[in-house]
Symmetry: C2
Subunit: 368 residues, 2 copies
């Protein structure tokens, strides 16, 4: 069994920086936080990271392969993140590009509780791409949001989630919204033989988040949405382990890490880490929408969420962020059936939500 | 009473972007997440943000003042962060430069439970600058870490904290480390009439973090360290409200937000937000150390932590990250007495930790 985790960093040294020194510094900064020489050889052997290779990778750029000892990481997600991109986040020109995950780390984190197959069972869809939408806008009351749930469930949307900005504002307090929206979706399911799910968004301070998630489960919800950038990644595994809920992860705030020369590659942060941390569904901003991901990145993300990985379940890529309903069949052909298409604004723009959702469902069922 | 929160963004539009459109987009993206026109006038009036001014602020740069309705924010820190820099984190060329905090938001968050005066009482120091150090390196066992505690407490260090990478690794499991280090510090306090504090670092998944913090309080610790970038900001107020502990906040991982053209200004994230979120002591990377903050930024940070702010307590700036012990008196003169100097490596490099700490304490007591 391996005793290390291998991380690959892209370095962009400043003009007065030496690439080898910059790589070596990472091995100290992320472990002992001491200058070289101010610790024993035993600590160097057991704890300090090790530069395996350093290669020129383009003008002014270098690729550093660094092995971190598992003894420095332990088995907790917080310290794993700390080692991968903790103090070095405060430096410059360091981008975590990839990680080779040891089986022991994968096993400790555990991955999705439901995964692709589990979500398909929950919504009763064997092979087709899945459809999700968001309840919006913030400012509507519980009754109005519940009416939207009814319309979307009738039209054949599988997963109807709160907009991620819905928390506990006076316009739609969490408890009232939960009861109204869940009842609306269950009523359509019962009347029309559907299996739509309502996913309340639960981020808050943890004690409140725990209460909201328990209330959701008690109301019959099978899945919820969280924003790990607000709550910390550990919220997802708590929802999996304590409540058995499926989790959709929202990327709010984490774009701060996606700089070209500094940060964490989106396929590592939204891909590998979200899946390892137990997300069953991972929202990311699709190409062509309101955000700046390109298609190769989206495809890498899809691969990270679905590829074989130490025996954990695949998660469902959930591209969103301005996907046009008319382009959905195109994306279904590109990305394949094990994808959730999250489409909001372009359904709302059509006015009759049931009809708009029905057309989308019909178009998607023809693909791929 | 005001019904809005004013946020100032620096915009760096791409060549094909219009600054006014970019500013207007923020008012929608951070609230209703819908294109203009796909919501009612009532929602626009009550929920959507409003561009107050947009000014040219340099070549290719603009300063946008945006008012967000408190009705869109509610009273929770998670949603406040969401509105300030949530989805727009996934875009480009948007930097949250400043926030004008309404009294109602300040009151809802509450600020430090102990603050500068409270920390001074805990360590028995009326006027002088305070001294902190870190237990390191990761890899030492509880007995070795406890010996270091003894040496630093004897030398006159006020606050002896775990290195932030110490979690629950086999080399020094949390429970063993807590008992050994706290006993060591209490023994020196009793024998030599000191009031040093041991601060265990508690980040982990929340249920574990709660257990660790309770164990720390039960062992007699009066303060702990957390890393809000790993746990979420809400951990700090939980420690304040549930356990009455003072909190030192560590900046690990949040450097991802500190890009020149995109992210959150350090004085907002580490300054205002940390203090509002209840941090009593806020670690930041001092100029001249291993990280890239310059002196004007450090001074802005100090000001944000200490300035009058809606009646909440001042917090203690805690510059660290490679501060040289010989330069500590210089920094004490620059930053003033209401500062904690966090000095690690440069004490360890001297070998005899008690003597090194004693010299530092002596030098600092002469200042300012």
């Amino acid at each position: 069994m391996t005793d290390h985790l291998r991380a690959i960093y892209e370095l962009t040294p400043a003009p007065d920086e030496d690439a080898a020194a910059k790589a070596f510094d990472i091995t100290l900064e992320q472990t002992v936080e001491l200058p070289d020489g101010v610790f024993s050889e035993a600590i160097r052997e057991r704890i300090v990271g090790r530069v395996v290779t350093l290669e020129d990778s383009g003008p002014g750029r270098f690729r550093a392969v660094i092995d971190f000892r598992l003894a420095a990481i332990g088995s907790e997600l917080t310290q794993l993140l700390n080692v991968l991109f903790g103090n070095i986040s405060l430096k410059r020109g360091i981008r975590l590009a990839d990680v080779e995950w040891p089986d022991s780390v994968i096993a400790a984190l555990g991955g999705p509780g439901h995964g692709c197959a589990g979500i398909r069972r929950l919504v009763g869809a064997r092979q087709r791409p899945l459809l999700a939408t968001a309840l919006k806008p913030l400012g509507l009351g519980p009754a109005a949001l519940a009416e939207i749930c009814t319309a979307f469930a009738r039209g054949g949307i599988d997963l109807i989630k709160d907009d991620h900005g819905l928390s506990d504002q006076p316009s739609a307090p969490f408890a009232d919204r939960l009861q109204a929206c869940q009842a609306a979706v269950l009523a359509v399911n019962a009347a029309e033989g559907r299996q739509a799910l309502y996913l309340p968004t639960v981020p808050a301070a943890w004690p409140q988040m725990m209460m909201r998630a328990r209330a959701a489960r008690d109301a019959g919800c099978r899945a919820v949405m969280v924003s790990p950038g607000l709550t910390g990644f550990d919220a997802i595994a708590w929802l999996r382990d304590e409540l058995g809920l499926a989790v959709m992860a929202h990327p709010t705030t984490v774009g701060g890490f996606f700089q070209p020369d500094h940060g964490i590659a989106p396929e590592v942060r939204l891909g590998d880490l979200s899946r390892l941390a137990a997300a069953d569904m991972v929202i990311y901003p699709n190409v062509g929408g309101r955000f700046g991901f390109d298609q190769p990145l989206c495809e890498r993300l899809n691969d990270r969420l679905r590829r074989p990985l130490g025996g954990i379940s695949p998660a469902l890529p959930t591209p969103g962020g301005g996907v046009d309903v008319r382009r959905a069949p195109h994306w279904a052909r590109c990305y394949g059936p094990d994808t959730i298409f999250l489409i909001g604004g372009s359904l709302y723009a059509q006015g009759d939500l049931t009809a708009a959702a029905g057309r989308l469902r019909h178009a998607i069922e023809g693909e791929p």
